[in-house]
């Protein structure tokens, strides 16, 4: 009997996706490097010096894209967590796991570059307002997700626990979104978008590379995973 689409999603997906992701990663990586180089060129050689802030305004080219990514990645992670919980697909949980470290890194960068920008511009590294506090909570959500995943030995239980945490954490997102002032009209949007595209490509490349790792780790006892790397396990003519 042919497999239904749901069955395919449930059982065949990790192996097929492993190959597909492997083909996409080099293209994404090259795009990320090219867009990143273009973004840096705009940041340092095209963008003018800000009359009030001085050269420190160039931080906008990494701060804003990093802050965007910190939220986007969480939305995508929560989406895969929801798919995993509702359809019980292993690959969806693995995607969520693969996104968390990249999201945590961008959240850290958003906080770090924000602090460095804030000191010379507004006179403080940090203030306890809703925007900064909710971004800090976002960092703790990512780190909590990763810690929870590492702490639970049974992968099926870890998947579900992490997914629940990821979904609960979405309550934090509107807090960030509505507390950030809309500065779209006051920043060099094109350059920021170029760097944003670079960060997107980077994130997808990293998430796909990491999900390949997670797939191999989870499927290490399967015949296909062994055959990928060990010649004596190559599947014979079946």
């Amino acid at each position: 009997m042919p497999m239904s689409i749901a069955d395919r999603l449930r059982y065949a997906a990790p192996q097929a996706f492993y190959t597909l992701a492997g083909r996409l990663v080099p293209w994404l990586a090259v795009s990320a490097v090219l867009a990143g180089a273009a973004g840096l060129y705009v940041a340092f050689f095209v963008a003018p010096t800000d009359a009030q802030q001085g050269e420190v305004c160039r931080i906008v080219f990494v701060h804003v894209p990093a802050a965007w990514m910190s939220m986007f990645i969480y939305v995508v992670m929560a989406f895969w967590a929801a798919v995993g919980l509702s359809l019980n697909t292993r690959l969806a949980f693995m995607m969520a796991h693969a996104l968390a470290p990249t999201g945590a890194m961008f959240t850290f960068l958003a906080l770090w570059t924000g602090a460095i920008w804030g000191k010379p511009t507004w006179g403080a590294w940090w203030v306890w307002d809703a925007r900064l506090a909710s971004e800090l909570i976002l960092l703790f959500l990512y780190l909590g997700y990763m810690a929870l995943n590492a702490a639970i030995d049974d992968p099926r239980r870890a998947d579900r626990a992490c997914a629940l945490l990821a979904l609960a954490g979405t309550l934090n997102l509107p807090l960030i979104y509505y507390s950030v002032p809309n500065i779209a009209g006051r920043m060099p949007l094109q350059g920021v978008l170029i760097m944003g595209a670079a960060f997107w490509m980077y994130s997808i490349a990293l998430a796909l590379s990491r999900v390949r790792c997670v797939i191999l780790e989870r499927e290490q006892e399967s015949e296909w995973a062994g055959a990928q790397f060990c010649s004596r396990l190559e599947p014979g003519p079946a």
């Binding site: 095209v46 010379p120 990293l206 290490q220």
Partner: protein
């Protein structure tokens, strides 16, 4: 004067902010802030793929030994 500085000076005519490498590095006296932000970003963006490559090597070495199949 290095080749880079020549390039920078050539571009300076086209409305760029920097006349020399030292001006570029100084960032109008805000170099510590600007480079503190950009360099940390560059390090983080390079460190993550590197750590991931180590993680991948771990599992690939394990599979290469055929350990997954006992």
């Amino acid at each position: 004067m290095g080749r880079g500085a020549v390039l920078l000076e050539a571009r300076a005519g086209a409305g760029m902010s920097w006349a020399s490498w030292s001006e570029f590095v100084a960032m109008g006296g805000q170099g510590a802030y600007v480079w503190g932000a950009f360099v940390v970003c560059a390090v983080a963006l390079a460190l993550e793929p590197w750590l991931l490559a180590l993680r991948r090597r771990n599992i690939v070495d394990y599979l290469r030994r055929g350990a997954g199949q006992g």
